[in-house]
């Protein structure tokens, strides 16, 4: 990777340089002050960089070489599903008919786009086992907020006001954050010794005040990578109390074509198109978080909704945007959603088909269990034991507690040393209930050779630490920068270039 001293594009600016040439106005060049009152005008233009095109390209190319990315190597970041991003999807998303289609185009002249959305909705409905889909939410957390607002609207329509949302202590941080934002109170539910929901605790929490239970948010398989065998009973209890059951779809990659959230009893599901359906993560967005819901939740779905109208008199079906949804929770964002993401994910579903999706999940589960077994057979078996020792689904969680106690090496140290071996580390310190947690999700698109190489690297790091723990404690060494002072960045934040 590129290791020179960081210099921002603003520091490379020199007065008088430029890249853009604009077309001539071709209309009268009246002074601006004749068009807009002076008091509304800006005195000095913003201090954007002054730099010519060759140096812009060179600057960002160099910056790119200071990033590790999925196309460079193994990226087993738990709960993030770092699967291959097919370039075919980029090609079809860039077709002018998609990329240059204005969102306010008359639906009669955007039939292809609306049909694509309709087809994607149908595919997601079948995969989730729930009949109705809204593609509008922009991300998983946005889908969660949507689900909670749907729950509120559903209860309000029945004349009920409920205040509590239950979530396991293993849940993603977005779950409780969404709960607060939606105006509910979070109630934590404990985890049992098999990694699932502690049923007695769940019953206690519900029985405390069943009429206040609005919803239970669950990831299944959960963030430990384990399928909760009690899900049918959980659903029965929540429904008996009058609540809704929400499925955080972050881990859907484990069960596509094998088991469906709707069949498990969930009322509302969000799907991360940037995880299970191959939209590139972009270094932190964009993604999309469509939701699938049951019949009783459908009336409240966000506006507008894509609808299909059957044609008559020899005409084919047509598609439209339905804004007239009187019980809808309303809009969650502008226009129709992240359409470019829909194109990529629909292309992915077309590529794999029914069998391919099921095989993707099966291989993801196979890869995870194989890597878990490979690690357990080596030093990790003692130093980094799996937190819940049973077959996992698409990911598993290790605990670095013995490693820390016996070698003085924290999970963070191990993660940083992995960087020197050319791997992106797993997710660290999550879920919170596992001490020194390391959450590993290899995905189906990795080869056995990659998994072996990763297991070998962990083995080598642990062996090295038995000799000299300091090596890992001071890692990394080969990266563009070494360990960074994150505390300082929060205590005395510097969040822009001084000019």
């Amino acid at each position: 990777m590129q290791r020179e001293r960081a210099e921002t594009i603003f520091e490379k600016s020199k007065p008088g340089r430029r890249a853009a040439t604009l077309p001539a106005a071709g209309v009268p060049e009246s002074p601006l002050a004749e068009l807009i009152p002076v008091r509304l005008l800006r005195a000095e233009p913003p201090r954007l960089p002054e730099i010519a095109e060759p140096e812009i390209v060179r600057h960002y190319n160099r910056l790119s070489r200071r990033n590790f990315d999925l196309d460079s190597g193994f990226y087993p970041l738990g709960s993030c599903t770092m699967k291959h991003n097919p370039r075919l999807n980029e090609r079809v998303a860039a077709l002018p008919g998609h990329a240059r289609l204005h969102p306010a185009q008359d639906p009669r002249r955007a039939q292809g786009a609306l049909e694509l959305m309709w087809l994607l909705q149908g595919s997601l409905a079948e995969i989730c086992g729930l009949p109705h889909v809204s593609l509008q939410p922009s991300a998983g957390s946005h889908g969660e907020l949507a689900g909670l607002l749907l729950t509120r609207a559903y209860h309000a329509d029945r004349g009920e006001r409920r205040t509590k949302v239950l979530a396991p202590d293993t849940s993603h941080g977005t779950n409780p954050a969404s709960v607060t934002m939606a105006g509910y109170e979070v109630v934590k539910v404990a985890t049992n010794e098999r990694g699932g929901v502690e049923m007695d605790d769940l019953r206690t929490q519900i029985d405390a005040d069943p009429e206040q239970v609005a919803c239970l948010m669950l990831t299944n398989p959960n963030t430990l990578g384990l399928f909760d065998e009690n899900i049918a009973e959980i659903a029965r209890l929540i429904h008996a109390a009058g609540g809704t059951l929400y499925y955080d779809g972050a881990n859907l990659n484990a069960v596509m074509g094998h088991s469906r959230p709707g069949d498990m009893g969930f009322d509302i599901v969000h799907v991360n198109l940037h995880k299970s359906f191959s939209q590139p993560h972009g270094g932190g967005g964009p993604g999309a978080g469509p939701i699938a819901v049951s019949d009783r939740i459908e009336p409240y779905l966000p506006r507008p909704q894509v609808v299909r109208r059957e044609g008559g008199n020899g005409h084919g079906p047509s598609y439209d945007l339905d804004h007239e949804r009187p019980k809808s929770i309303g809009r969650l964002r502008g226009f129709q959603g992240n359409f470019g993401v829909f194109v990529r994910s629909y292309a992915y579903i077309l590529s794999l088909g029914a069998d391919g999706l099921a095989e993707a999940s099966e291989t993801a589960v196979l890869n995870a269990n194989y890597l878990k077994a490979r690690l357990a057979a080596g030093r990790a078996g003692e130093r980094l034991p799996v937190a819940f020792d049973r077959h996992c689904m698409h990911e598993f969680v290790l605990s670095g507690k013995p490693m820390k106690r016996e070698l003085g090496l924290t999970t963070l140290d191990l993660a940083k040393r992995l960087l020197d071996f050319g791997f992106h580390p797993p997710t660290v310190y999550f879920p919170l209930l596992v001490e020194e947690a390391l959450m590993v999700e290899p995905t189906e698109t990795e080869t056995k050779e990659s998994l072996d190489a990763f297991a070998d690297a962990v083995e080598q790091i642990l062996a090295e630490a038995e000799e000299d723990a300091e090596v890992a404690k001071s890692a990394p060494y080969t990266t563009p920068v070494r360990r960074l002072d994150e505390v300082r960045a929060t205590r005395r934040p510097v969040v822009r270039q001084a000019l």
Binding site: L40, R42, R100, A110, H258, F335, L357, A358, T427, L484
Partner: protein
Amino acid sequence: MTRYTSATPADRAQMLAAIGVSDPAELFEQIPAPLRLGRPLQLPDGLSEAEVCERLAALAERNADAEDQVCFLGAGMYDHYVPAIVDAITSRSEFLTPYTPYQPEISQGGLQVMFEFQTAMSELTALPVSNAGLYEGPSSVASAGYLAIGATGRRRFVVSRGLHPHSRETLVTYSRGYGAEVVEVGLEGGLTDAAALAAAVDGETAAVFLQSPNFLGAVEDVEALGAVAKRHGALLVVACDPITLGILKPPGECGADIALGEGQPLGNRLDFGGPSFGFFCATEAQIRRMPGRIAGETEDVDGRRGFVLALQTREQHIRREKATNNICTAQALNALAAMVHLAWLGRAGFRELGELLARRTAYARRRLAAVEGIEPLHEAPVVREFAVRLAAPVDAVLERCAERGIAAGYPLGRDYPEHGDGLLVAITERRSREQIDALAEALGAAIAAEREGVAA
């Protein structure tokens, strides 16, 4: 094997042996039998790459895009020219395929881009703090509402009717969740009614929301309108179109506490509405209440300059139910596109683009107003979009223009029933004088034909 997986039968056999099972189905036995699907998904079989390409191209063909039609549609997203280097840089694997930069030592490229983007947006808005990006415009408005509740302890928003209809509706949706009342103030002559606004704001107001240029294209006097927010201790939230900030007085110089907006005009394609990004800038006082990712500068153990995600204690993965927002997406790739576009425009080019838009828009407004059956909907100053009234049914006129290959604009009637005869026309640097003349001619002919009752 699908074309994206690599496990051969031999690989699988070895892997199963290592796991100690004979069939992958055993791994799925943790799913209770009644919950196993037990049948194939009812989806078509997988297709070859060539077939997928053809299938998607056939769908794309059925859309009238900005290459098929001359596009005067705006209403928040615009057909700007995206320079070639944006595509070249954003399609690099190193930017396209990583996750959020949780491991800063191997994410310096992405983190530095965020830091540069924050600097650029801070310069544009003249506010000291910018985050690294939010989903898009309207949900950013709703996030500002959540921030304002936290900052003031109050739960009422006063919102100009000039704020984008999608932003107003999104704010109402979110407000039903976090618990807030939304009070709307109307427009007079295309601009926010100053007297009504002053009357609506009081000591219970958490925030005042303005947009400039507003949805009808009119440049608001934000400084004058916003003073009432200050007097009552409410936050002033200003939604703006970033492309106009080369020439318009920035929100930070008009008393705004928060400036935000839809980022699509900066380097992002239309994509039928997304993905794009929302930007969100604020005063120092709000830094610990900001939503979303923020990159910050720091040093490594060797004293080398580096960047990290700063102020993470605001965020959901640390603070859980006490987080300042639930968002974890920064739309990083879209923000990169914006940064490259802004660097390409540069200090001079950014201003020149604003001037170009203002001049062509002024020309278009005059040119259309000279057409029989068209008159301005308001006389307020505009930069890149303006509203007119048509003396014939808008939908029918639009249909006639579409048949001549022109998307003539956005009909205002759906969002503003009081302007059922209104049309919003947007101008970009791609809309030449000749195209504007053609629009005027097409609108004139369509209106005349409608008034004469000529069959389309």
